[in-house]
């Protein structure tokens, strides 16, 4: 019986002589490219570097937390480590990751277009990211920043003696990269679809990126202006958040979270889009509930703007505001639940293969479910009083950001690796890495739920001795997780030179990106495709098999 294993040699298409990778050589051809595929690679390099830096900070954190009073690092250093871990991971890794790498690469291909709507703005986005990264790097080298990635006032404006201004500038600048990318994707999706590609024939990855881009465009500017106010307050003491001058420090929290809550949906929606692509291909099934998943993405984006106050339950916010935010927070959970059920139902009566991308899908669905359910604990305002600002929150968001988003990113990277590089990754090592990541992840973060209920506050480098056992378990898990993340860097780079060459459609998947060679030529399609099928028409493919 025929399996859906990647085909090393497809007799129908010879390896492409001219593709976007070898179309031109030299550093200038890369740094001045306007090809969305090359820009995606530029982002891939940068976010891998940023992920490694953020990971190093996390490693140092977890080593410090092995002992209750241990002084692997000083208190001030520890405070800088967790701050910079957050800033780097959120602004320079998670938010760009799937959109800027996979979105950039795939959106025009999935739409049957030659490039994005605004290719030069796309390159500008990357350069803006670089400028932001330079400010961030300067801040780290010049001594670091210790306000927490949340920059709460008045600590960040009146008390901290660290590199607040360069870091805030870094965040401000990199936000424009995010805004422009989102704008580019929205306009491209509206205006550059191939003939016959109606909205409800779009791959769900496109819908996910579209919903993400809406949030990026609408929420990020609010963060930008909040950071401007923060800079003015810190630099000039204008009084806007200073209680001595009538300012309200909690207003900062409202402005900050108005962006930062939708930001978490920026970080998870693209991963959900990846899952929809992979789960259909490797179960050879139509997606279950296409429109429901579609509208759930939009629903998450919309309701996601209304729940920011759940970060302020114990801030002194009005009791009735808190209750309202709690209700809305429960509502935003429903569309995510719908998606999980639909993905699971897609597996039913499928013909499933356990390729690495599919293993990441399994991991994502399980871990995202746990992460999402623990969000319900926090949405209950009466329980959040006990749990907020403890390790329970840390475990919750890492289950979603790492167990969810990063696994989605890695799954997508593996799935589209043949398209991006023209090579197949080594399946054996990829499976091993996936298993190590899954085990390491759970060992790192599950104990933190327990620590949180026990009362261990977050951002503590010293803690009462009864918390030690769970902390040691968590650090052990982190070392395993680190190994798991290191492996793909090695074997993916290896595969670019030594991996077997891939055909245009090694997974026998649906979608326009697979109708062009691997890697694609610079102009993507020789002729503009005309679409006549619904998305994920695997049943039609299956009927032709066997």
């Amino acid at each position: 019986m025929k399996t859906s294993h990647a085909l090393a040699e497809d007799p129908g298409s010879a390896p492409q002589e001219f593709n976007y990778l070898n179309a031109d050589y030299g550093v200038r051809s890369w740094l001045l490219t306007i090809d969305h595929k090359r820009i995606a690679i530029l982002y891939l390099v940068m976010i891998t570097i940023m992920f490694s830096i953020g990971g190093l900070f996390a490693t140092a954190l977890r080593i410090e937390l092995l002992t209750p009073t241990g002084d692997f690092v000083q208190a001030d250093t520890y405070n800088k480590l967790f701050t910079m871990h957050g800033v780097v991971m959120i602004f320079f890794f998670l938010i760009p990751s799937i959109p800027a790498v996979l979105g950039n690469f795939l959106l025009p291909l999935m739409l049957g277009a030659r490039d994005l709507a605004f290719p030069r703005i796309n390159l500008l986005s990357w350069y803006i990211y670089i400028v932001g990264a330079i400010f961030g790097t300067y801040a780290i080298i010049a001594g670091g920043v210790d306000t927490g990635w949340t920059f709460y006032t008045p600590y960040s404006t009146s008390s901290s003696q660290t590199q607040v201004i360069p870091t805030v500038l870094a965040g401000f600048i990199v936000g424009f990269s995010s805004i422009l990318t989102g704008l580019n994707f929205i306009v491209t999706t509206h205006k550059m679809r191939a003939p016959g590609l109606t909205w409800f024939r779009l791959p769900l990855f496109v819908w996910a990126i579209y919903a993400t881009s809406l949030i990026q465009m609408l929420a990020t500017p609010v963060l930008a202006i909040t950071l401007v106010l923060l800079l003015l307050e810190r630099g000039l003491h204008i009084g806007i958040f200073d209680p001595n001058l009538g300012g309200d420090p909690v207003l900062f929290q409202h402005l900050f979270w108005f962006y930062s809550h939708p930001a978490v949906y920026i970080m998870i929606l693209p991963g959900m889009g990846v899952i929809s692509e992979i789960v259909t291909c490797f179960s050879r099934n139509q997606i279950f509930g296409y429109k429901f998943i579609c509208f759930s993405s939009l629903g998450i984006a919309a309701i996601g703007f209304l729940v920011w106050g759940h970060h302020l339950f114990v801030s002194g916010q009005s009791v009735y505001a808190g209750v309202l935010f709690s209700l809305l927070s429960y509502l935003v959970a429903i569309p995510s639940a719908i998606k999980v059920f639909n993905w699971t139902a897609t597996l039913y009566k499928g013909r499933i293969s356990w390729q690495t991308p599919m293993l990441y899908v399994f991991g994502f669905i399980g871990l995202f479910t746990i992460g999402g359910l623990t969000g319900l604990f926090l949405a209950a305002i009466g329980l959040d009083v006990h749990l907020t600002d403890t390790y329970f929150v840390i475990a919750h968001f890492h289950y979603i950001m790492v167990g969810g988003a990063i696994m989605g990113y890695l799954g997508g990277l593996h799935y589209w690796w043949p398209k991006i590089t023209g090579r197949l990754y080594p399946e054996f090592w990829a499976k091993i890495a996936c298993a190590i990541i899954f085990l390491g992840f759970n060992l790192t973060f599950f104990p933190q739920f327990l620590l949180g209920y026990m009362g261990m506050p977050r951002r503590y480098h010293a803690y009462p001795p009864e918390f030690q056992v769970l902390n040691v378990m968590s650090t052990a898990g982190a070392s395993i997780l680190g190994i798991g993340y290191f492996l793909p860097i090695v074997y993916l780079i290896w595969s670019m030179r030594y991996g077997p060459k891939a055909s245009s459609n090694p997974w026998n998947a649906t979608g326009l990106e697979w109708q062009t060679p691997s890697p694609p030529p610079t102009h993507n399609f020789d002729r503009v495709p005309v679409v006549t099928q619904e998305a994920y028409d695997y049943p039609a493919m299956e009927r032709n098999v066997g």
């Binding site: 490039d115 500017p221 106010l229």
Partner: protein, 220 residues
């Protein structure tokens, strides 16, 4: 699976970028792009308007006392200047639409002149505030409720952010003027002028909101 249609060979019209199939697609896409960008600008200013709303609700007397120190006559003149510049901008777009090169250049230049006048008047206002110790920070002195400093913080943040957008707009208009003078635009292709107009009108509208909220709340 998609069928590959026998598409026309992909030749490019003048000014057509390679990613577009037709000039019409390019024009529609660019226009949507500018509108989308203006939406992000609304959100950007929205944060400031949000902070203003909160503090004005909390400290109405302080705000009205502070607003007395703004010269609403000068503010009104500036408003007129800016609305005038929007009119000249609209006329510039019209001239481009009609393919009239001379008028385009004249109206664009007039818009730049009016915009610069606005900025000049703002400089005078800012200087006056500085001289009277009304710039928030270490040198702020005010006879009245201390929360007035917050009003002035918002005044400078909002009008300052607006001024930055105007400076960028004037830069953009200057580029358009040079291109128009060189004959880049015609009745077939004047999208950049149109989009420049959209941006300029947006900056005008922001001021239309700022003026009453900052200058006209002197209270009863």
């Amino acid at each position: 699976m998609a069928d590959h249609a026998q598409a026309e060979p992909h030749t490019l019209a003048p000014h057509q970028q390679h990613q577009f199939e037709t000039m019409e697609q390019q024009q529609e896409t660019s226009t949507l792009g500018m509108w989308a960008f203006l939406v992000t600008e609304v959100m950007f200013f929205g944060g400031l308007f949000g902070a203003y709303t909160v503090y004005r609700y909390l400290y109405p007397q302080a705000f009205s006392a502070a607003s007395h120190h703004l010269n609403y006559i000068i503010g009104a003149i500036n408003t007129g200047v800016l609305i005038g510049s929007s009119m000249t901008m609209a006329l510039a777009v019209r001239a481009a639409q009609l393919g009239n090169r001379r008028s385009q250049v004249v109206f664009l230049l007039l818009t730049i002149v009016l915009g610069s006048t606005f900025l000049g008047i703002k400089v005078v206002e800012y200087h006056d505030k500085f001289v009277h110790h009304l710039v928030p920070g270490a040198n702020f002195r005010f006879e009245g409720p201390r929360e007035s400093q917050i009003f002035f913080s918002l005044y400078f943040a909002m009008t300052g952010m607006h001024a930055v957008h105007m400076i960028i707009g004037i830069g953009m208009l200057s580029t358009l003027t040079v291109l128009a003078w060189r004959g880049n635009f015609s009745s077939q292709y004047y999208t950049p002028v149109e989009l420049g107009g959209l941006y300029w009108h947006f900056v005008d509208i922001v001021w239309i909101y700022l003026f009453p909220l900052l200058y006209l709340i002197r209270g009863g």
